[in-house]
Symmetry: C2
Subunit: 423 residues, 2 copies
C-alpha cells in the first residue's frame, strides 16, 4: 500500500502548491536527535528541506534525551510506587516540550509548522497506562494542517483514551507512533531517524568489516531485535509487519540511505544469513535433578512468570533415572533474584542443587534464506569449532540459529561467523 508508486509531479513554483496531493512522509526523531536546542534546529532545517523536495511532512519527536529519566526520578522522589495514570501525565510533558520547540525552530527558519500532542493528533489508545496499545487513529487534524502546507510535529510515545485520559505507549513508543501514523495517513515513506546509520550485518564495534544492510524483511528485523540488535523494539516492527508499513532506519546526522524494512520478496531468500547479532551480559541457571513428574517444570516457569522475570533460551536434558536438568538463560542483572527464587522452587519440588553462572553471551545468525538453504547450522558450528569456541546451548527458529557461549569468546565468534557466511 505504501511506496505505491503513485506518480508525483513536482509543482512548478509559480503555481500555488496544492498541498493535499503531495505524498506524505513520516519521519521519527529519537531523543539523541533532539537532545539540545542546536540539534533541534538541525532537525528543523532537515524537515524543511524534506518539505521542499515535494513532500507533506509529519515529524514524530521523542523527549530530549535525559528528560524522561529526570521526570521518572522526580516521580520516585514523591512516591514509592507512582500510579500509572499519573506517570503517563508526567512523561507526556517530555515529548510535548520537544514538539513545541521543534515547531518554533521551523517557524524561526521561515517555515510553517504546528505541533500536536498525541491526543490532538487523534491517536486513540486503550486505557492500559504506561503500556497502552493504539486502538485507532483519527488523523483529521493532521490532514487539515498538512493541507495548509504546514509541517506537522507530533509528540511520540503518547495517546489518549476515548475518555480523554493521557496514555503512553511504553518503550519504543515513538517508533510505534511513527509507523502507526504512516499507516493511517497512507504515507509514501516512513523514516526512523536515529543515532545509527541503519541495521548492520553485525555490530561494527565487534566486526569492523560489518556492512550496512540495504533491505531486510520484517521477520529478520524481529529476530535481530530480539537477539540484541537494539535498533528498534520488536513491537514497532510487528506493527509495521501487520499493517505492511515499509520503513527505513537511517541516521539523523547525515543524508545517507539506511536500511529499508519490508515484507520479504523471493529475491531476498538468495542471501542465507542476513546478519549476526550478539547479546552480552547473559547468565545461565540450571536446576539439577528435577523430578520427572507432571507439574515440576510447570512450577518452575510459573514462579518465573509470577516474579515477572524474563528468560530466553531453555534447554531440558533427556531424562535419566526419573530426573532431568533444566537450564535457561536470562539477563545477568536478574541472576541474583532468579537464583534465590530457584533455590526456593528447587526445595519445594525436591530437586537437586541450582547452578548459577554469569559471563555468558548469545550469538544469533538470522536470515530467511535458512528456510530454503540447508547446512547453516553445520557451517556455524564448524566455524566456532575451528576457533576452539565451546557451544553451551543451542536454540533455533525457522530463520535463526542462536548459540550460548562464553562471553569472552563472543567477539571472536562473531568475526568467524561473519566470514563463514560471506557477510
Amino acid at each position: 500500500m505504501l511506496f505505491c508508486g503513485y506518480s508525483f509531479v513536482f509543482p512548478i513554483p509559480s503555481i500555488p502548491v496544492n498541498y493535499s496531493v503531495l505524498p506524505i512522509i513520516v519521519q521519527k526523531y529519537g531523543g539523541t536527535s533532539v537532545a539540545n536546542p542546536e540539534r533541534i534546529k538541525q532537525v528543523a532545517r532537515r524537515l524543511l528541506e524534506t518539505q521542499q523536495q515535494g513532500y507533506s511532512v509529519v515529524a514524530v519527536v521523542s523527549a530530549m534525551s535525559g528528560v524522561t529519566d529526570s521526570l521518572i526520578q522526580l516521580a520516585k522522589e514523591v512516591s514509592q510506587k507512582p500510579v500509572g495514570r499519573e506517570i503517563d501525565v508526567l512523561l507526556a510533558t517530555g515529548e510535548q516540550t520537544t514538539m513545541a520547540l521543534m515547531a518554533m525552530a521551523i517557524e524561526d527558519l521561515g517555515g510553517k509548522a504546528t505541533s500536536l500532542t498525541g491526543a490532538q493528533a487523534g491517536i486513540v489508545t486503550n486505557a492500559f497506562h504506561t503500556k497502552a496499545k493504539i486502538h485507532h487513529i483519527l488523523p483529521d487534524q493532521i490532514s487539515a494542517e498538512l493541507a495548509e502546507g504546514k509541517i506537522v510535529i507530533v509528540a511520540g510515545f503518547q495517546g489518549e483514551t476515548s475518555d480523554g485520559e493521557i496514555t503512553t505507549l511504553g518503550r519504543g513508543g515513538s517508533d510505534l507512533t511513527a509507523i502507526a501514523l504512516a499507516a493511517a495517513l497512507q504515507a509514501q515513506e516512513c523514516h526512523i531517524l536515529t543515532d545509527v546509520e541503519g541495521v548492520f550485518t553485525c555490530d561494527p564495534r565487534v566486526v569492523p568489516t560489518a556492512q550496512k544492510i540495504k533491505v531486510i524483511s520484517y521477520d529478520e528485523m524481529l529476530e535481530m531485535a530480539s537477539s540484541g540488535s537494539k535498533v528498534m523494539q520488536s513491537r514497532s516492527v510487528e506493527f509495521a509487519k501487520k499493517f505492511n508499513v515499509i520503513f527505513e532506519v537511517r541516521s539523523s546526522f547525515n543524508n545517507q540511505p539506511g536500511t529499508i524494512v519490508k515484507e520479504e520478496s523471493p529475491d531476498m531468500e538468495q542471501v542465507v544469513v542476513r546478519g549476526i547479532s550478539i547479546e552480552r551480559n547473559q547468565a545461565k541457571v540450571t536446576i539439577t535433578n528435577v523430578p520427572d513428574r507432571p507439574g515440576c517444570a510447570a512450577r518452575i516457569f510459573t514462579a518465573v512468570a509470577e516474579a515477572q522475570l524474563v528468560i530466553d533460551v531453555i534447554v531440558q536434558d533427556v531424562s535419566a533415572h526419573g530426573a532431568t536438568n533444566i537450564s535457561f538463560t536470562l539477563n545477568r542483572d536478574e541472576l541474583e533474584k532468579m537464583g534465590n527464587l530457584m533455590d526456593q522452587v528447587a526445595q519445594e519440588i525436591v530437586a537437586g542443587p541450582v547452578h548459577k553462572e554469569g559471563g555468558i553471551a548469545k550469538l544469533s545468525v538470522v536470515g530467511i534464506g535458512m528456510r530454503t538453504h540447508s547446512g547453516v547450522a553445520a557451517r556455524l558450528f564448524e566455524a566456532l569449532a575451528q576457533g576452539g569456541i565451546n557451544i553451551q546451548m543451542i536454540s533455533t527458529s525457522e530463520i535463526k540459529i542462536a548459540v550460548i557461549i562464553e562471553e569472552s569468546a563472543v567477539e571472536k565468534a562473531a568475526q568467524l561467523a561473519h566470514v563463514a557466511f560471506g557477510l
Copy 2:
C-alpha cells in the same frame, strides 16, 4: 453565593461518605509552594488534611519555581521570536508536571487523587495565545472526580480553545484559574496559598510593626496590587470581584488565617486607611515646553502606547506662555527606551529638552474609608513634611492617594505614614 453558610454535618466515619454533598474548597499553590519534591509532599499532606476536615478539595497548581523560566530560555535558543501558539504548548508542560507529581504524592500517602490539565478541567478560553481569557468553564469532569472522593489537581495558568488548542492565561494565570473554578464550582472557600502570610498594612521588611489585614475589599486589594503590593495580579482580583468570589490569601507554609478579600461592607468603612504600599525602582520623564496646541499631548501618549511602554502617574503643569511641562512616571528598567522615544517626539512637536530621572519611588495609602472621611491627604502630607520628605507628584483616586518621592526616603515615609494612620 460563596460562603453561603450552608449547614454542613461532618459524616460519621462508619457511614459511606456522600462526597457530592460536601462543600467544595479550591486551593491554589504557587511555584515556591511546589518548588521541589519535598514541598510537593508537604502540600499533598495539607490537601489530605483539608479533605479530612470534610471538604471536597480542588487544588490548582503552578509550575515548580524556575521551570517556566527554563522553558522560556529553551524557546529563545531555538527561535528569535517564538510563536504564541507554541509558547503555550511549551509552557503548559510546567503545570502538567506539577499536577502529576502532586497526584502521585497524594496517592503515596494513601489518598485518592486525579490530575487534570486545563483542557481536561473544562477551562475554555479564547484563542489569544499567551494571554488568553477564560470564556467559560465546563466542570463536569471535576465534579465527577470529586463525587468519587478524589482530590482533584488542576493545572493552573492554562486552558483550551473550543478548537482544542492549548492556551495560557498570562501572568498570575494560576490565581485566575483558582478563582474561576471557585465560581464555576460554587465553592464554599477559595484559598490562594503563597509564600507570604497575607496582605499587610505595609511591607513588613520596611515597617516592622506592619499588621496582617484580616479583611480587605476587592477595590482596596486592586489599589494595593496596582501600587506595588504584588501578592496577586489585578486581573484575578477583578475577576473575583465580577463573580463575587470571596477568597483568602494565606501562607502555604503554616495554617495561620490570612487575609480575606471580599465585597466591601459598611463596617469596613470605619477604617480610613487599610494599607500602605510602596513601589521602588521608578523613574520620571519630563517633556518641557510642550506647545499648548491640540494634538501635542496626544502625540506623546500615542507614541508611548505604540511602543507598548507602561506609564503610571501623569502630571501636566498649568500652561504658561503658550507652553506646558508634561511629566510621567514609569518603571526604571524602561527609562532608557522611553527617554530615547521622548527625545524624538519632543523634536517632532517642537518642545523643549526632555529630563530623565531615576531613583524615585511611589508611596500609596489605600482605604475605602477615604470616601467618607476627609483630611486623609492633609494627614499624609503633614507626616511627610515632618520627616522633611519632598513630594514630587501626587495622584489620587477615590480610595487612594499616591505620592512620588525620592527612592532613598521611601522607608522613612512608609514608617511615618504607618504611624500617622494608626496602622
